[in-house]
């Protein structure tokens, strides 16, 4: 803008360039300082508001390590972990089915994704929880028979609901990953005589991991949070435990804040885990193996890859 408004000020005769060496002065950014100060003031006001607000911080501190909360958090971690395992397994299975030569197999995989991605998780959880209304008993002829309500406990219902729902999303993620691997890889595997399963397991899937891990990390973080929906089917994960406590003592916000702290801690740990998994599967890809170890950037580094690059050079 400046140069357009007054182009003449930039005009210099070639004879003005008398020196070979110059002192370069960087452009100042006063606006950045102003906005920075403004944001810090707003943040301080917000912190003060919460500090003065009606929150019994000592209650928060007390319940942060209360056994009932810790046990709830353990259940949250447990259900999230196993639901992710189920999701990843189903996702891989149905992704391979979607890429099958067999149209029936392809259709079944499509149907699975269509149904479980197209309905709310909460609804799916409720259906699993109430599945005994449809099938009062579970029978494997001659081997096993049980009442459904005894088998499908809240834990099992939550595991099935969250895991199967996750699998539908993972199917699309894994399918995208498999499709991104060059067809030459399959051909090379063929020429050394590898079976289709070996090719998938040894050649294709390891290469898709690099692409699957980032969305899978998002899913894992999402799963940790969505597992709180299982409170609706009375599975005592952390949020359910917190509710049970505040129904009695009335410290609603305090217990919700306790949960928030633990969820944040959990998702932060997942971020770190994701970083190292990504680095492992990035081996063989330029720069993948030589990335520096994890450290918290607190959003302060603008673009992580570029920074890594600068550090190396």
């Amino acid at each position: 803008m400046l140069s357009q408004a007054a182009p003449e000020t930039n005009r210099v005769g070639a004879d003005a360039l008398q020196q070979r060496s110059y002192k370069i002065v960087r452009l100042k950014h006063p606006g950045r300082w102003l906005s920075g100060v403004a944001v810090v003031i707003l943040l301080a006001l917000l912190v003060k508001a919460f500090a003065d607000g009606k929150i019994q911080w000592d209650v928060v501190g007390k319940f942060l390590t209360a056994e009932v909360i810790l046990r709830g958090f353990a259940n949250t971690l447990l259900i999230s972990f196993f639901a992710m395992i189920i999701g990843a397994g189903l996702g891989t299975l149905f992704a391979v089915m979607r890429l099958s030569q067999n149209p029936v197999t392809r259709f079944v995989a499509w149907l699975y994704v269509w149904i479980f991605r197209g309905t709310p998780v909460l609804l799916q959880l409720l259906i699993w929880f109430n599945i005994a209304l449809v099938f009062p008993t579970i029978t494997i002829p001659g081997l096993y028979e049980a009442r459904t309500v005894d088998v499908v406990t809240p834990f099992v219902a939550a595991l099935l609901g969250l895991g199967i729902n996750e699998g539908a999303y993972m199917t699309e993620v894994v399918r995208g990953g498999i499709n991104s691997v060059d067809h030459g890889q399959t051909e090379a595997a063929k020429t050394i005589g590898m079976s289709r399963f070996q090719t998938l397991w040894r050649i294709i899937l390891p290469q898709t991991m690099r692409l699957i891990i980032p969305p899978m990390g998002n899913s894992a973080i999402g799963m940790l949070k969505f597992s709180s929906l299982a409170t609706a089917i009375s599975f005592t994960e952390m949020l359910n435990a917190a509710q049970q406590v505040y129904f009695v003592n009335g410290a609603v916000i305090e217990l919700l804040l306790v949960c928030a702290v633990w969820y944040l801690l959990g998702t932060t740990v997942l971020n770190i885990v994701q970083f190292y998994i990504e680095r492992y599967y990035g081996r063989g890809v330029a720069r993948g193996a030589s990335r520096p170890p994890f450290r918290f950037s607190f959003g302060l580094s603008r673009t992580a890859p570029r920074q890594a690059n600068e550090e190396q050079s």
């Binding site: 060059d182 030459g184 890889q185 051909e187 090379a188 595997a189 063929k190 020429t191 050394i192 005589g193 590898m194 079976s195 289709r196 070996q198 040894r202 050649i203 390891p206 290469q207 599967y281 081996r283 063989g284 890809v285 330029a286 193996a289």
Partner: protein, 255 residues
């Protein structure tokens, strides 16, 4: 001279487009055959038919005692073999691709021993020892631990050659092995192929390297429009072509 590779009347169409229109080929044990010809002439497709990366529309491929990809039934019927049997045949036919197709998540050595260990179920220690020998033979004895992304194009292609050799193939197929390389890296790959030829390996090489064909090939085949127009010793075919299409192709590439 015993015949190792025999192809009879190979036809191949892609979506109605005829790519191979009746190719016949005989390759003897230890022979080096270079296939030259203009782009789109069907050279690569022919190679891919030889190891059943492509199915055939007519004709038959025979390599060292067995029909590749099919089973001969009465009345001239070729029935497709199940994948398990095809894989047994394919692993005895080495192939080197234009774009290397190394497994990027494995080191050079892991690429080489993947087939022996996972397909032929050799003990890992023996396969590793042999893999190191093969890497040394292609001049990469010290690069076994490197990932493909850390290797130059020429080095990648030499690893790919070692990977194919690790399966002790009866014949080696090369699909434009130097076409994706920077000019200064072509020589190192051709040197390895020269050594391989001298060691008596049966080789079928699709290439644009006329000089290599002239020096190394026992016979040269020129493919135009899906057939082999001319085949014979390089001294005859390259110096004194009879077919007008072959002559015009050779004048274009030799000048």
């Amino acid at each position: 001279m015993t015949t190792v590779v025999k192809a009879i009347n190979i036809h191949k169409n892609f979506n109605g487009q005829a790519v191979l229109t009746g190719v016949d080929l005989d390759v003897s044990d230890g022979e080096v055959l270079c296939i030259l010809g203009p782009s789109g002439g069907g050279k690569s497709t022919l190679l891919r038919c030889l190891n059943h990366l492509e199915t055939l529309d007519d004709g038959v491929v025979w390599i060292d005692g067995s029909i590749i990809g099919y089973e001969l039934r009465d009345g001239g019927v070729l029935r497709e073999l199940p994948p398990r049997k095809v894989r047994r045949q394919q692993r005895e036919i080495g192939m080197v691709f234009q774009h290397f197709n190394l497994f990027p998540h494995m080191t050079a050595l892991q690429n080489v021993i993947e087939g022996p260990v996972k397909v032929r179920r050799e003990p890992r220690a023996a396969a590793t020892a042999r893999g190191k020998e093969l890497l040394a033979a292609v001049g990469l004895g010290d690069r076994g631990g490197a990932y493909p992304s850390q290797l130059s194009g020429g080095q990648k292609q030499r690893v790919a050659i070692a990977r194919a050799l690790a399966m002790n193939p009866k014949v080696m197929l090369f699909d434009e092995p130097t076409s994706a390389l920077d000019p200064e890296l072509v020589g190192e790959v051709l040197d390895v192929m020269r050594k391989l030829a001298a060691s008596g390996t049966t080789m079928i090489v699709v290439t644009h390297e006329i000089a290599f064909a002239r020096d190394v090939a026992d016979r040269v085949a020129i493919m135009v429009d899906g057939t082999i127009r001319e085949i014979g010793p390089p001294s005859e075919v390259l110096a004194n072509p009879q077919d007008p299409r072959v002559r015009s192709f050779l004048t274009r590439v030799l000048n």
